[in-house]
C-alpha cells in the first residue's frame, strides 16, 4: 500500500480529502489527514462576530464531520517534515511515512513581529479579528465602547482575504450608525499599500465608498511600532497616528513547522509552482491554500479552485504523466460594504477585477464591482455553500476553476 498524507484539515485539506478519497485507487492508496485541532472554524465568520451578526455556533463545527470515513484523521501537532526521507515527525515522537504529501497548513497572525503590538494594550484597546479569540474580545469591547478614534490597520501584505479589513471598516460604519453613535467615532483606514486596494479599478471603486462613508484613509504607512503608552502607531517614516481603539491585521505567516523543516520562505510560505501547485524543491510534495507562496489571494474561494486543479495533477503524478492542469490564480470574493449591501470581484493572475455580470455574461444575477443587496445575500449564502458544498468538494454550479472572461468589461 502507498500512503498519501494531507497536513492540515482546514479549508483546503478537507477539500482535498473529499476529492481524493473518491479519485484514488483505494486498493493501492491509504489517505491520512493530520490536524492539531478538533474544530473547524469558518474564518470568514470572524469578520461578523465583533458586530454580533454571527454567533460562535454559526462558525464552528467538528473537523471529523467533514472527513470521509475511509480517510484516517490524526489529531496531533506536526513538528516537522523530513522531506529528504519522506516522513512527518509529530510533536511527542510519532513518525508517519508518506509517498505523496499535500501541505495545507494555512497561515496565521504573528503580532509579535511588530514592536509593542502584543504589548500591554493587546486585547484591551489593540485587537485583531483574524482569530476567534481576537474577534470575541473585540465584540465584547465594542458592545460598550463609548466612541473616539477607531483605527483599522493592515501591518504588511500578503494577508488572508485582503479585503477583510475594508469590510471591517464598512461594517463598523453601519454598526455605529445603528447604535446612533456614528458622530462619536472617527474611523481611519491605515494601509501599507498606496491606496485602498492592490488593483487600480477596484481601488477607485473602494475609495469612493470610503469617502461616501466618511472613513479617512492613510496610505503608504509601514508600521515600525505600536506605542502602548501614547496609544499611537508609528511608521518608519516617522508618521504617528493616535488611536482609542486599534483594530489591526498583524503580519500573516505560514506555520513555524516550515521553518523547522527548512521548507519555508522568509514568511514561512512554501515555494510552490503557481500553475501546477507542486512544491519547487520536492517532486512528491504539493501545496495548496494559504500555505503556498503563489501570487494569488489567500482565500477560501482560491483554495476551492486550486483543489480541482490539484486533484487532476495528483492523478497525473501518480500515473507518471505531465502535470497538465494549470491554475490561473482565479479568485472570487464578496466584499461586504455595510447596510446589507456587498460588492463582488472576480479576477486572476492576469486580469484585474472589473465591472460586469456574474456568473452569466450580460445576465448576472450578480453584479461585479458594484454595490447591491443581491451580492450581500450572496455573501451570507457563502457560509451555507462553504459547509455544504465547498468543504465536500462539490463543484459550485456555473463557477469554473479557471476564470471566465465573458460578461466582464475590461477597459
Amino acid at each position: 500500500m502507498k500512503r498519501l498524507v494531507i497536513l492540515g484539515a482546514g479549508t483546503a485539506g478537507t477539500m482535498m480529502a473529499n476529492h481524493l478519497h473518491k479519485k484514488l485507487n483505494r486498493k493501492e492508496w491509504t489517505i491520512d489527514i493530520v490536524d492539531e485541532r478538533k474544530e473547524h472554524h469558518y474564518q470568514p465568520g470572524y469578520l461578523f462576530l465583533p458586530f454580533d451578526i454571527y454567533k460562535p455556533d454559526d462558525i464552528i463545527k467538528s473537523i471529523k464531520d467533514f472527513i470521509p470515513s475511509d480517510v484516517n484523521l490524526i489529531t496531533k501537532k506536526i513538528d516537522r517534515i523530513v522531506a529528504d526521507e519522506n516522513y512527518i515527525q509529530m510533536t511527542g515522537g510519532d513518525q508517519l511515512h508518506y509517498d505523496l504529501l499535500i501541505i495545507a497548513t494555512g497561515a496565521k497572525i504573528a503580532p509579535e513581529e511588530i514592536e509593542g503590538m502584543k504589548g500591554a494594550e493587546w486585547h484591551k484597546t489593540v485587537f485583531d479579528f483574524y482569530t476567534f479569540e481576537g474577534s470575541i474580545a473585540l465584540r465584547n469591547k465594542l458592545r460598550d465602547w463609548q466612541g473616539g478614534n477607531l483605527v483599522i490597520h493592515i501591518t504588511e501584505m500578503p494577508i488572508k482575504c485582503p479585503v477583510a479589513p475594508l469590510e471591517f471598516a464598512f461594517l463598523a460604519d453601519s454598526y455605529f450608525i445603528n447604535k446612533k453613535m456614528r458622530d462619536k467615532v472617527n474611523i481611519t483606514y491605515v494601509t501599507p499599500l498606496s491606496g485602498a486596494f492592490t488593483k487600480p479599478k477596484s481601488t477607485a471603486a473602494l475609495e469612493h465608498l470610503l469617502q461616501e462613508k466618511n472613513i479617512a484613509i492613510e496610505s503608504d504607512f509601514a508600521i515600525a511600532e505600536v506605542n502602548n503608552e501614547n496609544k499611537t502607531i508609528v511608521d518608519y517614516g516617522g508618521k504617528e497616528i493616535p488611536f482609542d481603539l486599534l483594530v489591526t491585521v498583524p503580519t500573516n505567516k505560514g506555520d513555524e513547522l516550515m521553518e523547522r523543516s527548512g521548507l519555508g520562505d522568509e514568511l514561512n510560505y512554501v515555494p510552490t509552482n503557481k500553475e501546477t501547485l507542486q512544491s519547487k524543491d520536492h517532486a512528491n510534495i504539493f501545496v495548496i491554500g494559504d500555505a503556498t507562496n503563489i501570487p494569488a489571494s489567500k482565500a477560501g474561494s482560491v483554495a476551492h479552485f486550486e483543489a480541482e486543479i490539484l486533484t487532476e495533477n495528483i492523478l497525473h503524478y501518480i500515473k507518471n504523466e505531465k502535470l497538465s492542469a494549470s491554475f490561473d490564480g482565479h479568485a472570487n470574493c464578496f466584499i461586504e460594504t455595510g447596510k446589507s449591501k456587498a460588492l463582488l470581484i472576480d479576477f486572476n493572475y492576469t486580469h484585474e477585477p472589473v465591472n460586469g455580470t456574474f456568473p452569466f455574461a450580460g445576465v448576472g444575477p450578480l453584479q461585479l464591482l458594484k454595490e447591491s443587496k443581491m451580492n450581500h445575500w450572496g455573501k451570507l449564502a457563502f457560509r451555507w455553500i462553504y459547509w455544504n458544498m465547498l468543504l465536500k468538494g462539490t463543484p459550485i454550479p456555473f463557477v469554473t476553476a479557471n476564470m471566465n472572461t465573458a460578461g466582464k468589461h475590461f477597459n
Binding site: 501584505m157 500578503p158 492592490t198 501570487p295 489567500k298
Partner: protein, 102 residues
Amino acid sequence: MEKTIANKTITVNEEGYLTNFAEWNKEVGEALAKENHIDLTNKHWQVIDYIQDEFKKESPLSIRKIGKSGVVDIKEFYSLFPSGPLKTATKIAGVPKPASCI
C-alpha cells in the same frame, strides 16, 4: 508608452515602470532617480543591485525581505528612498512594481 530618458527610448507602463528590463542601464537608473528627487550613493546602488538580482531569480520582493537582505535594514531603506521605498527603488532599478499580492 514610450519615453526618452538619458538619450535612450524606454517603454514604461502608466505608472512609469519599465516594461522591459533589457532597456535599463545605469544612466537610465540615474535619470529615473533624479525624477524621484534622489541622488544615488553607493548604498543606493547596493540596494538596486540586490533588487535586480532577486528579480532575475524571479523571487518576489517585499520590504521585509529587503530588511533581511543584509544590505540595509528597514530604517535605512526608508531614509535612502523616502516614502514608499520599495515602489521607488524598484522603479529606479527598472523592474516591475512588486505585486503586493491580492
